[in-house]
Subunit: 767 residues, 2 copies
Amino acid sequence: MKNLWSISTNEFAGGKESLMRRGNVYQIANGYMGYRGTLDEFGPEESVGSTLAGIFDRVGSAWREPVNAPNAGFTRVSLDGAELSALGRKVRHHEQTLHFANAVFARETVFASRGKTLTLKSSRFLSAATPNLGVVQFSIRCDKAAAVTIRTGIDCNIWDLNGPHLPQLTAEKHGSVLLVQGVTNESAKRVVVAEAVGLDFGTETHETQGHRNLRAIRLHAEAGKTYTFHKYYAVFTDHDAVGTPLPAAAIEAVRQARALGYQACLGKHNAEWARKWERCDVRIEGDDEAQHALRYSILQLLMAAPVQGSANSIPARALSGQVYKGAIFWDTEMYMLPFFLHTYPEKAVELMRYRIKTLDGARRKAATEGPGYRGAFYAWESQETGDDACTYFNVGDPFTGRDLRTHFRDKQVHISGDVAIAMWEYFKLTGDDSLLLEGGAEVILECARFYYSYAYFKRDKGRYEILDVIGPDEYHERVNNNAFTSTVAKETFAIANATVDHLRKNHPKALQALLRKIDIQGELPRFREAENLLYVPAPDPQTGVIEQFDGYFQLGDATVEELKAKMVHPNEYLGAGQGLAVATKIIKQADVVAMLNLLRTRFSTEIKKANWEYYEPRTEHGSSLSASAYAMVAIEFGKLDFAYKYFLKTAKIDLEAKYKVYVGNIFMGGSHPAANGGTWMTAVLGFGGVQADENRVAINPRLCRKWKSLQFQLVYQGDGFKIKITKTSVTINPARTNTRKHTLLVAGSPAKCSPGKPVTVKYRQAK
Amino acid sequence: MKNLWSISTNEFAGGKESLMRRGNVYQIANGYMGYRGTLDEFGPEESVGSTLAGIFDRVGSAWREPVNAPNAGFTRVSLDGAELSALGRKVRHHEQTLHFANAVFARETVFASRGKTLTLKSSRFLSAATPNLGVVQFSIRCDKAAAVTIRTGIDCNIWDLNGPHLPQLTAEKHGSVLLVQGVTNESAKRVVVAEAVGLDFGTETHETQGHRNLRAIRLHAEAGKTYTFHKYYAVFTDHDAVGTPLPAAAIEAVRQARALGYQACLGKHNAEWARKWERCDVRIEGDDEAQHALRYSILQLLMAAPVQGSANSIPARALSGQVYKGAIFWDTEMYMLPFFLHTYPEKAVELMRYRIKTLDGARRKAATEGPGYRGAFYAWESQETGDDACTYFNVGDPFTGRDLRTHFRDKQVHISGDVAIAMWEYFKLTGDDSLLLEGGAEVILECARFYYSYAYFKRDKGRYEILDVIGPDEYHERVNNNAFTSTVAKETFAIANATVDHLRKNHPKALQALLRKIDIQGELPRFREAENLLYVPAPDPQTGVIEQFDGYFQLGDATVEELKAKMVHPNEYLGAGQGLAVATKIIKQADVVAMLNLLRTRFSTEIKKANWEYYEPRTEHGSSLSASAYAMVAIEFGKLDFAYKYFLKTAKIDLEAKYKVYVGNIFMGGSHPAANGGTWMTAVLGFGGVQADENRVAINPRLCRKWKSLQFQLVYQGDGFKIKITKTSVTINPARTNTRKHTLLVAGSPAKCSPGKPVTVKYRQAK
């Protein structure tokens, strides 16, 4: 039977693609930084990467991207003078494992050389307790006595997509601590890496060969004896508010860790992970495949979740590398946030603080992106300042070799509404209005201001319209009255108005201060009007189908297969104004259906079904976000087998890693945290049927066939609940520490839940 | 010295391109039909074409295009059994001439075969007096006695771009008259061609070989004797409102012509042409090159001008063939109409009646082209019904082999305003409001209604905007607040309001009937508001430059040469959303400058100069319309040498025929009546400085260096004037038949002009 708490492989060689894939699948991270699933002896050629959260840099005119730290996880061993690598010919056995329970990566490789074998074991983790810290346990054992050299330290050869970002690294040694420091090229951020070892064998010399800052440990290994040492490394950057200079802080950190020792470091780390899983694990009885993939997905989200107080967010490829410029997209609010909001609000609040931190960037974008835009137009691809990293020419054209003009940056305006909705969701589900007061309300009002500046009034129709946008379906650019975008804009006005009402009632002084600060008092009546008069396409009275945008119904009909058969180049893009999909109804991903999922309580099951059935056959699912939205809506009208198929597809995207790692010459590999979030969403909010708003939590389970039970935790307005759903009952176990009694709705029936008093409610699953 | 009243060549062979060019340059036409400048013995391979005005047809899914009539100009000669053709090897001499004075095409070819020579002469004209009639005089002379066969009649092998449009032609003989008739494929229009000859030699037999309806005339030609006969042919279609069946009408027409005889037919034809030139000729002393090219341009316009009562207009390639689908573009109103308005209002009124005739088509387009569009959205490519012949995929992409989506049809909304402005210009310059009453006012109000339905109100700016359009510069699609388009829309509202005011004052009952008919009373206050509140980009206060559209100034700068150097395929299109020009300031043709020319009295010379200097270096002049707009504006601020260069470029476009005849596989050849109109405009309105409005005619001459004098005629509000401009004086010779005294402004000084009393005013040309 499959181990449901790990993933392993004994693949050890292979081409660039397979190395890349394993680097993605086996990555570890702790919110502060990532470390790709590569091996100790690897270098930049094998895509070793330790991506830092929230530190970005640019070289020349290339894409701005996150910075990879110098590789302090580096260790290379030679046996009787012959250097060993899992990619060499001396490998007899190799196995590597990622442990879900504590995000530990371990590998064991047996090398044979000139009649001797050497068994190399290592395991590494990025501390969940001390974010700057990485720890490695490394051991070797030879079957026969042999001369072994272990070179370990900091490799300054950094894998970058568009580097070098740390052009002038200095290698130093401070007592027993190795130190490498540098300053980023454009952003002038200092990055410091220190490394220390706990070692009780061999003789050590300092080497700085090959742009590495290393210690060479030479020993005469006895036959059958295991030699183990530990590496502790710390990464610090200007973003760390430490009282001392960064080098001193880094040196101190590794000395402390070494003093504490490996087991103690691991113990603290494990304790943190135990708490995470206690809050976030989901258990599925009866379906190990789903259980495993779902847990892997949750692991990814937990590893990528920002460090408390960092006001960082989660990039579209998390911390698995520099792909997509390390940028934060709408994916985070729409697909990842629900997981954190329902299980781990302390992380959700960081994601939202990131949008507060980048509000000025959003203001700058509005001021420069179009004539008369005001307020906050959030970046389509957001980095640390909130300025937009998205280029206007975002897709390569294989026909001309030039880049195609896309309007992702300037027309995908739903991003601001996605942020405002997320901010309000946080308030609704936590009941905590402190985020509003510390900038969330300002974000919301500035988003509403942006939409007002973007909207036009159509006098002869007596309505506002949102024109010239791209919805989630990026194949159709510059459309008018896109159902998703207009809905999100209308919601933003409603939320802005509700925010003002809430503050007026509860924090009148804060409201006045805010209104003065951003000089918006005079615009508030317009927001009320826009909430009422903004046009959003309605379901067709006959068919129930909502037109995705003006004129969509008049586009040509085609199947995805028919469309693809017309392609004359495998890499040709289907959108960007001239692509094959543009004149057809084929869409890239859920758009109307994503809207129906976002506002799932607003529409009847019939409307959802009608739109699902209309749009699904016309959807390419060219984005990893698409399947989960379709799964969510399918569940609501009972198409559970289909939903399950899409759930699994979403859940296994990173595990199976079948996606293209290279598109043309561009490296696209990495993890898919939005899909990971979509997986959790489909399991808990979809099959589990959880639907929470400011008033209550409702549970309308629709377990899929295979699942005997589904267990998960929820945090709602500060109180915790363990939920177990079977085919016939829902058991709610309110935490003993809950502050009040809650009434949950189970399949429509109220279930009164007092702190510490489990309640079981029988139900009959809707057909 | 050059003959200023003709063009000749003795080129007789050459490839397809050169045949095509000569076919264009030497064409004749009489408004009812054209006949390309091909030779009697030619067939469809040599692009013989007799294009009918206002008759369109479609085959399958190919472009809808005008119909070519069966070729009744066909005559082929054999000498001692050897067939003669100017393309064969027997030619000893060839010369062909187009006479400007009467639009007669003549050719003389000497053939040599087996020691004998045969001299073939023919001349042809399409009667200006009897539009259905074509007449050919044909003669042969042999230097030695020889057996000659002349086959003449109607060739049913028709050159079509997207035919066959007359799939089932029947060949008949009625007495001595040959008759061919057929019905168009899709439009089911009957086309009948009759032919008769006046012949006094040889023996005649009837032949219907090779899909031709011919008479074979066999004779034993005596040495040195000239044998001459005449062909009379008539074309009738369902558009001819004749009382009798069309075959009878056609037969009767050729019998009458034959009875009248060649000289009498030619005499009537010549008399008509004499009247045309009397009204329309422009004389330039001191510059034969300009004189010749200008006269050729005027000839083209006069030949293409619609038959009285036809309510036809002039296609972009006139009657030179089927290129551009025979469609009428904005070119007609903006570039051709001024010539007719100032010299030949009876033709101008037909052009305008065409827009009245096609108003329902424009209404259909509005109703179907966008959500909530109302009123009249005129076709970008207009045929007989006013439905749009423009496709959504209008430009071939050499990279993919597919057609590019262009927005000419759906977004080039300035067309409706161009029509409304033209309608109002007619009223202003003729003082004749009957056109308004017979449908012109309805057109104007429906155009205003369209713009109102298209416009959005921007509440926070307190203004209407015209969004998402293409201006004359077609390289930048889907732009907002295009200076040209918004200006034209604002003018349309002003004109609609002025129309209502005029009718209210002068024709109150007609106004009421019209308002009821189109149920528009309630919308009139909106038109007043829109006239005031529609936003039009203003000159920058610092530089005077008007931004072509929102965001234009932020586009990349480049020279046309730099841009073209980036092309990777010679046929790649620079626009359509992804072309090389799209992200740059490079524009296809005059846009802001075209607007400044259209509203030439509204802007100061400084503003004109500033915009000219800004935009000219950024203009590709990829349209034949561009140079004349730049020339016009250049004249206004004294850049006369430049203006002259662009004037000549425009004037010689058809004469030199250097343009590409084929673009890819698409035949693009034909005449350029808009450039012809631009030539006249530059000469008379530009260098001549004529500027007429509803109140008066002003003349501010700026003769270019070479021109000693410029003489032309004007018709203004029904009265005629001969004008002669020298470097120092303007002489105005009001027609004796004028109905009233006029005060013209010459370089700012009033010149009182009584009927029949010439006035000379001295002036000093502005620097």
